[in-house]
């Protein structure tokens, strides 16, 4: 329940053992193991529908694996296509809601990521008027303000222009430098220092 203390403790860890995932009658993947230590990154690749998003949700603890177990140490921040921002609220207020939930009460902390992501001019605009890319950047701002050591990103580059995509990769690198963990599920190339790549096709059942 408590927010992660700052500065980030280098004690985060993510370990999955012998995961299998089933959707309906279909086994998407099986026998998947994964261990990431502080500063480590993993890029999950694979074709559409192979189970990248399902794996991310299992790692986040939002879905139960069919077989296997996941161990997490440290808080988890998630970005997927659902940004978690109220459409009728101005962006600044919607972001502040999460910043407060995450115990970041000082204004600077909830607004600083927005400035870097080029959202400063949009803080008064209701979320429903934002474009796909702008929403994605808003989700990133929320993630940064959360200060969670484990980042799970599901297709983080969708809808982003080149500059924003580069910025996203830079932000992930910084997160790793500060001892965080990042798992990226994306069919696009994603530049990460010292990443391991995991091709889900190898585990497809």
């Amino acid at each position: 329940m408590q927010a992660e203390p700052r500065p980030k403790a280098n004690e985060c860890r993510l370990k999955a053992v012998d995961l299998a995932c089933r959707r309906g009658d279909r086994v998407l993947f099986a026998g998947l193991s994964l261990a990431v230590d502080p500063g480590g990154a993993c890029h999950i690749i694979g074709a559409n529908g192979i189970g990248k998003s399902s794996l991310i949700r299992i790692l986040a603890g939002l879905a139960a694996p069919w077989i296997g177990s996941v161990e997490r140490e440290g808080g988890v921040g998630l970005i997927d296509d659902r940004v978690g921002l109220d459409p009728q609220q101005p962006l600044g207020r919607a972001l502040r809601f999460w910043a407060r939930i995450d115990d970041r009460i000082d204004e600077h902390d909830s607004i600083a990521p927005s400035a870097r992501l080029g959202l400063s001019d949009l803080l008064d605009v209701p979320v429903r008027y934002l474009s796909t890319g702008q929403r994605r950047r808003a989700a990133l701002a929320r993630l940064i303000a959360q200060h969670a050591p484990i980042w799970l990103l599901d297709e983080p580059l969708n809808g982003l222009d080149h500059a924003a995509a580069d910025l996203t990769m830079a932000l992930v690198s910084e997160h790793l430098d500060s001892g965080g963990i990042c798992i990226v599920a994306s069919h696009q190339s994603f530049a990460l220092p010292g990443k391991t790549t995991l091709d889900l096709a190898e585990f497809a059942a």
Partner: protein, 219 residues
């Protein structure tokens, strides 16, 4: 923890009560008044019939008004990822559902009880009946809110969930209606006590049923 729950409650109230663009809390109240206004046209202006059936009409109208906002109680927040983000932060779904029941109650019950005053005039209810209806609504609306949120959680993500939610809610609301409107017939407080008892049972069950439903819908 308490602080986080306070923030979530404030946000829920802002979305449910003041939510612009989705007509907020005004539509169910207008609907409630419309029923009270139409009923005398349908059964004729006989004061004795109206006074006899008016209390029951208010109860039925209140039940239907509580059904109207069901589809925006839970499903939008699942679709927008709010429940995922809360879950990642270790905030239990049961708490969220309990807060949502409170926010839902605040968004319709006080306004409904206020609208009962003009409705009782339209239906020609006397002071004693009005008092019974108001106390009955005070005892019964928390139960209606609990059923509403619980059913909204269970039907979230289903196709045609909104229509199904209305159908599912009606049988569960029958005990409230029997005891609440029944208290009008015998003029006693026992009916209201039973209404309150049913409400308390529903309030105790709903957070757990709703929380389990949200987790199951996550898949």
């Amino acid at each position: 923890m308490i602080r986080q729950l306070g923030l979530i409650l404030r946000r829920d109230i802002a979305v449910l009560l003041l939510g612009r663009g989705n007509s907020g809390a005004t539509l169910p109240i207008l609907f409630f008044l419309a029923v009270a206004m139409l009923f005398p046209f349908a059964v004729g202006p006989s004061a004795t019939i109206l006074a006899k059936s008016g209390g029951g009409v208010i109860w039925v109208a209140a039940l239907l008004a509580a059904i109207l906002p069901l589809d925006r109680l839970i499903e939008p927040d699942i679709e927008r990822g709010f429940f995922d983000q809360w879950s990642l932060r270790g905030i239990a779904e049961e708490w969220i559902i309990a807060l949502r029941i409170l926010a839902h109650w605040l968004s319709f019950a006080p306004a409904l009880m206020l609208a009962t005053l003009p409705a009782s005039v339209l239906l020609g209810l006397d002071g004693a009946t009005l008092r019974l209806v108001e106390t009955g609504l005070l005892a019964g609306t928390p139960g209606l809110a609990a059923i509403g949120v619980m059913i909204a959680a269970i039907t979230a993500g289903l196709r045609g969930g909104a229509a199904l939610a209305g159908l599912l809610m009606i049988p569960l609301a029958v005990p409230l209606l029997i005891f609440g409107a029944g208290s009008l017939a015998n003029g006693g407080s026992s009916g209201i006590a039973l209404t309150a008892a049913v409400s308390l049972v529903l309030l105790a069950i709903a957070p757990f049923a709703g929380g389990a439903a949200v987790r199951a819908a996550r898949g």
